[in-house]
């Protein structure tokens, strides 16, 4: 099988409404021969299609809901799958409206790369739209690689001069966010120029097509090379041959590796024990690594429970952390309320002690002193937790450095959080 070599690339679209995100995804799938003929037929007969006679509205490949088609907008993320011989792709089409930012954050949290689209014909003196900045900010905050696509080049007659203006603006945005050397590709999502294959429409453009850029991303860091982290999902009781029942811990290795005989630390007390067995359904392993779902047995009765994390020797816990938050709930933050912080499999009572700053999306400046947090705000906060949580930094370990806040009254997911430091 070629499976051994295929790498997984998860892409999310980003950028303002109507800049061509859904059309681009449809175009990528269409030109990669990832659409089935009945799906193409369904597109050509689709109600509400915006395409001219005989043409396809490719945005409908992912805008699959009735109300999305009727309104000509994307409301929620759609997931599509396709593979080239070297790469298997998950493409996630996100909505551009500010109102649906939480859905974009949902899509981005499940992606490795963001394609931030800009409509080349709608910039005034190079000024980017607020949503373009917001989405680029979110994508970068969530640790995604950012690639820019300057779309609708046909509407500016593939003018190199206009492209360069947009490019300048995108480079300025990148510098202010700390994105280094982003690829910036001029495209026409509707016709496919520079999307899958490089087009002769822009002889001045020397770079690769958008799909090539996406495919040739650097590999990044192997999660197996990070410190060992294992959030316990459930405790397994097996009545072995011995008199006492044996307890195992079922879960998925978030990062690092583990071998039989390794010393691990259990929970915030960091009680040490050794791994005695590593089991899957039908195998006993001597070693396992990031991504694998296994059951671990320890030499001592350590009394771990769901929510505890088994870690390698390098780990620290804290009661107070500094974290980036994307507020996702219609209900604004209520300083009197407690929120559950869900990190790995743990759910711990917490409260936001203070808002250090909120980002102003117009100029990306950090606004201090505002003690309100509402829908779509991106903020830096100080959190206090009832019991200590693992203090992994999101940029070092996205698996354990990420958390969500849940409003225990409504059960809504109120915020996405990323640990930046301890107090």
């Amino acid at each position: 099988m070629t499976q051994a070599q295929t790498k997984l690339v998860r892409i999310v679209t980003a950028g303002s409404v109507d800049d061509g995100k859904s059309t681009l995804i449809g175009r990528i799938l269409h030109d990669s021969k990832a659409l089935m003929s009945d799906q193409v037929d369904a597109l050509s007969n689709a109600r509400y299609s915006r395409a001219e006679e005989g043409d396809l509205d490719l945005s409908f490949v992912t805008d699959g809901l009735e109300s999305e088609r009727e309104q000509g907008i994307t409301i929620d993320v759609a997931y599509r799958y396709f593979a080239t011989p070297q790469t298997s792709f998950i493409v996630i089409d996100a909505p551009g409206h500010e109102q649906y930012t939480r859905n974009m954050v949902t899509g981005a949290s499940n992606a490795d790369v963001a394609i931030v689209l800009v409509d080349a014909s709608r910039l005034h003196q190079g000024a980017l739209k607020v949503q373009t900045r917001r989405h680029a900010t979110i994508a970068h905050l969530l640790g995604l690689k950012v690639v820019f696509a300057v779309n609708k080049m046909d509407l500016i007659h593939w003018s190199q001069k206009v492209f360069q203006e947009v490019e300048e603006s995108l480079k300025r945005l990148s510098r202010s966010l700390g994105i280094t050397n982003p690829a910036i590709v001029p495209i026409n999502a509707r016709s496919g120029d520079n999307v899958v294959a490089v087009s002769p429409a822009a002889p001045w453009y020397q770079g690769a097509s958008l799909l090539e850029v996406l495919q040739n991303q650097g590999e990044g860091t192997d999660l197996s090379d990070l410190p060992f982290r294992f959030p316990v999902q459930r405790v397994v009781r097996v009545d072995g041959h011995k008199l006492e029942a044996q307890r195992g811990y079922a879960g998925r290795i978030a990062s690092g590796q583990v071998s039989v005989g390794d010393e691990v630390l259990v929970g915030p007390h960091r009680r040490p024990t050794k791994i005695s067995r590593i089991e899957t359904f039908d195998q006993s392993l001597t070693q396992a690594e990031a991504g694998q779902s296994v059951t671990l047995y320890t030499e001592d009765e350590v009394d771990a429970a769901r929510g505890d994390i088994l870690t390698g020797p390098e780990s620290s816990y804290a009661n107070r952390v500094i974290a980036d938050l994307c507020w996702l709930d219609d209900q604004a933050w209520d300083p009197r309320r407690r929120y559950l912080i869900q990190q790995g499999t743990a759910a711990i009572t917490s409260r936001i002690e203070s808002v250090l700053h909120i980002r102003d999306m117009r100029d990306l400046s950090e606004v201090r002193g505002d003690q309100a947090l509402k829908l779509n705000d991106i903020a830096l906060v100080q959190l206090q937790t009832q019991t200590p949580i693992l203090a992994d930094h999101f940029k070092d370990n996205p698996k354990t450095g990420a958390f969500i806040l849940i409003d225990p009254e409504t059960n809504q997911t109120a915020a996405a959080g990323m640990i930046r430091g301890v107090v």
Binding site: L65, S109, Q233, G344, N411, T413
Partner: protein, 302 residues
């Protein structure tokens, strides 16, 4: 900086599904696993064994039975549950018809859409708060929009315009009383992934999935099976064709495709070359309307 795991494709999907199954069991009071005997639910059940053995499964199997099953599927369902020693709950659409909660235009009308009613009745009767299903995002454009943990309100309805955010793999399984979750561990699997996994794991399937000779009639693009509930119409020519099923659903809306693929390897080869989507090639229930699946899901369907 981006991060990656070096697990192989199928191992990654398998491990993710096991993780989701364990989250679903840990975060619910009274879950059930939808098991119809079809290939996706057979894969889901196999993954559940991997997630929970040597313990018993922490949930019963649930089948919403239209009573219009192809030959061998009910037997396969019952034998599988018996072999594994797991509890099987069957919710009959027929019982809903008797109760009057399902009214059909005619006795032989399709019972496919009625499944939502029977499903919701089963949820209420048994107090299920979470149902594991084998649906995949690549099946349909409405499914492509759905969360892994898909929240349903007190009426069992899916509201695609206000889904809960779903960040990373941190699933929030919290509910108010009366609401439920549908959880889809195979969300990120494609049809080809399913078949290559069935091959690798040697998962047993009903014989219908393999090429066999069957009486069919031509109906537009489909070969419609001739069965007790879908007899040939007056003057329709019944042909005996070599066919197999790509999906197994209700007899009134599921069609086979012409194929001589008699083993999994041949099915995989065919799947790789297919130019028709799985549901497009086989499901008449989706052809009724462009948004057929979305509308069924809004009403509480899987």
């Amino acid at each position: 900086m981006t991060f990656f795991s070096r697990l192989l494709h199928l191992d990654r999907l398998e491990s993710e599904a096991i993780y989701i199954l364990r989250e679903a069991a840990a975060q619910s009071r009274n879950p059930a696993l939808l098991f119809s005997g079809g290939k996706d639910s057979a894969v889901l059940l196999h993954l559940a064994l991997k997630a929970f053995r040597p313990e018993k499964l922490p949930f019963p199997l649930l089948h919403v039975d239209t009573g219009h099953n192809f030959e061998g599927v009910t037997e396969f369902r019952d034998e599988t549950a018996a072999r594994l020693g797991e509890r099987l709950v069957v919710a009959d659409v027929e019982a809903s018809i008797q109760r009057g909660s399902v009214r059909l235009a005619s006795p032989t009308a399709s019972r496919n859409a009625a499944q939502a009613v029977t499903l919701l009745e089963a949820i209420e009767t048994h107090g299920f708060d979470l149902l594991l299903g084998g649906a995949r995002r690549d099946e349909d454009k409405a499914r492509a929009k759905e969360r892994v943990f898909s929240h349903r309100d007190a009426f069992g309805a899916w509201n695609p315009k206000s889904q809960r955010p779903e960040l990373w793999d941190l699933y929030n399984g919290r509910l108010q009383v009366g609401e439920n979750f549908r959880v889809f561990p195979l969300s990120n699997w494609t049809e080809l992934d399913i078949w290559t996994y069935i091959e690798r794991e040697k998962i047993a399937l009903p014989s219908l999935y393999f090429a066999h000779v069957r009486p069919v009639v031509r109906d537009g693009d489909y070969w419609r099976p001739v069965t007790s509930v879908t007899p040939a119409a007056e003057g329709q020519e019944v042909e005996r064709r070599l066919v197999r099923f790509r999906t197994v659903g209700d007899m009134t809306c599921t069609c086979p495709i012409e194929s001589d693929a008699s083993d999994i390897a041949a099915i995989i080869a065919e799947t790789r070359l297919s130019t028709l989507s799985e549901r497009g090639a086989t499901r008449m229930d989706d052809k009724v309307n462009e948004a057929a699946m979305e509308r069924r899901k809004r009403e509480g369907y899987f």
